[in-house]
């Protein structure tokens, strides 16, 4: 028997790096690349604001109350005369950071539970799924309100609410993907070879459901921002003197007639952030969980 594959040279580190970059660029379609850039810009702006005070101080009263946008205050001033730009930057930071941390917690919890449920199947799966169903039975804002009632309004309430809202669905979807992977022959081969269960879970299951986790994590991030916004809007999330997009919008509604610009800026930023995340999620889903697109009709 002869070798049936032409030899390929060992890839150098430089080649590997270039391949990695190319893959990152081709993983997202153009629309999603734009979305990713917008989000990165938001992150960069809020980090700069915190590090070097971009946009000025969010707490300092610098002008007249409810001043319309001007050269000095590009987005106007709020009801106390603080410039909206630094407050908005701080709000973006709080909202994004809170959401990212919450989704990271969700991802860890849901991946662990989902992978174990999917791999074990049977009773373990049934139990985990049923606990998920119980959480899933709460409409998100209602659950958030309950959490806020128990732990008291604030960032912890927002964080806990986001996790509780996003965990059930992600667990279920990771479990379904894991189930499919667990049925594949390479998992049986590993079991036969005596590979330990934790190794199988990480090496074989986790690696193959990473796409699902990435996609669902992205969608969870957009839900996280919605929940944080809604909760802060109702007054049970981030509290003054802090700032978050939901809180800013809540303030904006109070002065909507006199100073509509107060709601426009945070509203637009919030919608854009969620939109960008959803676009990225769709794009990731198309790439990582491809479905046959061979329709005849």
């Amino acid at each position: 028997m002869t070798g049936t594959v032409a030899p390929i040279p060992r890839a150098t580190a430089a080649q590997a790096a270039r391949r990695g970059l190319r893959r990152a660029a081709t993983t997202l379609d153009p629309l999603a690349t734009v979305a990713a850039c917008v989000l990165l810009a938001m992150f960069a702006a809020t980090i700069l604001a915190r590090l070097v005070g971009l946009g000025g101080s969010p707490t300092e009263i610098v002008g007249t109350r409810l001043a319309a946008p001007s050269l000095a205050f590009p987005l106007g001033t709020d009801s106390l005369g603080r410039s909206l730009v630094p407050r908005l930057l701080e709000g973006i930071g709080t909202t994004l950071l809170l959401s990212v941390i919450a989704v990271a917690i969700t991802a860890v919890l849901a991946s662990t539970a989902g992978i174990v449920a999917g791999y074990r199947g049977g009773r373990v799966n049934g139990t985990i799924m049923r606990v998920g169903d119980m959480l899933y039975a709460f409409p998100s804002i209602i659950l958030a309100i309950l959490v806020a009632a128990v732990v008291g309004p604030g960032q912890v309430a927002a964080l806990a609410s986001i996790v509780l809202v996003t965990v059930p669905l992600m667990t279920r979807l990771v479990a379904v993907s894991s189930r499919a992977v667990a049925d594949r022959d390479f998992v049986a081969a590993a079991v036969i070879s005596g590979v330990s269960t934790p190794r199988i879970l990480v090496r074989h299951i986790l690696r193959n459901v990473a796409g699902t986790i990435a996609v669902q994590g992205t969608y969870a991030l957009s839900i996280a921002i919605l929940v944080e916004g809604g909760l802060s809007f109702l007054g049970y999330g981030v509290q003054l003197p802090g700032s978050s997009l939901g809180l800013l919008i809540k303030e904006g509604t109070t002065y909507m007639v006199k100073a509509p610009w107060l709601i426009v800026a945070p509203g637009v930023v919030l919608v854009i952030a969620i939109l960008c995340i959803n676009v990225i999620g769709d794009s990731l889903r198309d790439r990582l969980e491809p479905r046959e697109t061979r329709s005849l009709v």
Binding site: M134, F138, P139, T253, L296
Partner: protein, 323 residues
């Protein structure tokens, strides 16, 4: 007949979830600041009332017994008394329910009438390229605008400019159905936007998923027309995820109503819950949350039954969410 094979299991599963949910709520309310007497009666209640409550709910009894007593009184329709109004929670809910229901009916009607046809249309006409990117963007915008942003903007626009519909002075459908509709249409539409967009997306995905199934290819090979195939071989098959989503959205409407009612100043169940939270009227919160989850569990059960009727494989292959 086939239904009878798995329905008992499903009912049992739903019961398990309900019990679990009620335990969660019980535990949550028990851990609220202020203790159970505060929750039911309010922190300013008289010692006599507290003693009566302790007797009624057996606060001296063990926690499992207390849970059972709570469940039993809830089953009898006794959800406690609002601390603020001193009226039974059931009465408070009954007076607000018509408004929230009215909003829900408007939202779901719009979702079914607009979201599903839109999804079918884009699903059967998606060929990639620029139009699909545009379609994706439009439906993404629909699910990306939070209700509280959209609601605030609509309230602003309609109260600032004379656009035909008024905001506020809501009329309950229970008092005057015809007069209530114009006052509920704006919050209803706001509530519907997310539902329409997500239903359109799900419908499109479901239709696309069915279109690549081999039985559709077989129908094409038999020379059936596109319309015929969509009517007979696609819609029914795609209906399960759509049905599931619409039911979930329906069950979650109370959640959406919380924000929309607050912004539009509609005195329905949602805004009542938020007020209750502000006033620490915990008996109301506890009952409201329980109501929301019961609605969800019932809707899920309904979907399971319908799913079993639509797709005969479900009862065999898929062991169901709760089986």
């Amino acid at each position: 007949m086939r239904l009878l094979l798995w329905l008992p299991g499903r009912l049992l599963g739903a019961l398990v979830v309900l019990v679990g949910v009620s335990i969660l709520i019980f535990a949550a309310v028990r851990s609220l600041p202020g203790g159970y007497a505060d929750v039911i009666l309010g922190s300013l209640s008289s010692p006599e009332a507290r003693a009566a409550l302790a007797e009624q709910y057996g606060l001296d009894k063990s926690i499992p017994e207390q849970y059972l007593l709570w469940v039993l009184s809830a089953l009898r329709g006794d959800f406690g008394t609002s601390m603020v109004s001193q009226l039974p929670v059931t009465d408070e809910f009954a007076s607000r329910l018509p408004l929230t229901l009215g909003l829900g009916v408007i939202a779901i009607a719009l979702t079914v009438l607009i979201g599903i046809p839109l999804g079918v249309y884009t699903g059967t006409r998606s060929t990639g390229g620029r139009s699909s990117v545009l379609g994706r963007l439009v439906s993404s915008i629909g699910i990306s605008v939070p209700e509280f942003v959209l609601a605030s903007v609509i309230v602003f626009l309609f109260s600032r400019f004379a656009l035909g519909l008024r905001v506020g002075n809501v009329v309950s459908p229970a008092t005057d159905l015809a007069a209530s509709i114009p006052t509920l249409i704006l919050p209803g539409v706001v509530l519907a936007v997310f539902c329409i967009a997500s239903t359109a997306r799900t419908t499109r995905d479901a239709v696309l998923g069915v279109l690549v199934e081999p039985h559709v290819g077989a129908a094409v090979a038999r020379g059936e027309s596109k319309g015929f195939i969509i009517r007979h071989h696609v819609l029914r098959n795609a209906s399960i995820p759509i049905l599931t989503l619409v039911a979930t959205l329906t069950a979650y409407l109370l959640g959406g109503a919380v924000i929309v009612e607050t912004v539009f100043d509609v005195p329905g169940l949602g805004s009542y819950l938020v007020q209750a939270l502000g006033r620490r009227d915990y008996a109301v919160i506890q009952s409201g949350v329980l109501l929301a989850t019961v609605v969800f569990v019932v809707m899920s059960l309904l979907v399971d039954v319908l799913t079993g009727l639509i797709d005969p494989r479900v009862s065999v292959a898929k062991k169901g969410r709760w089986a």
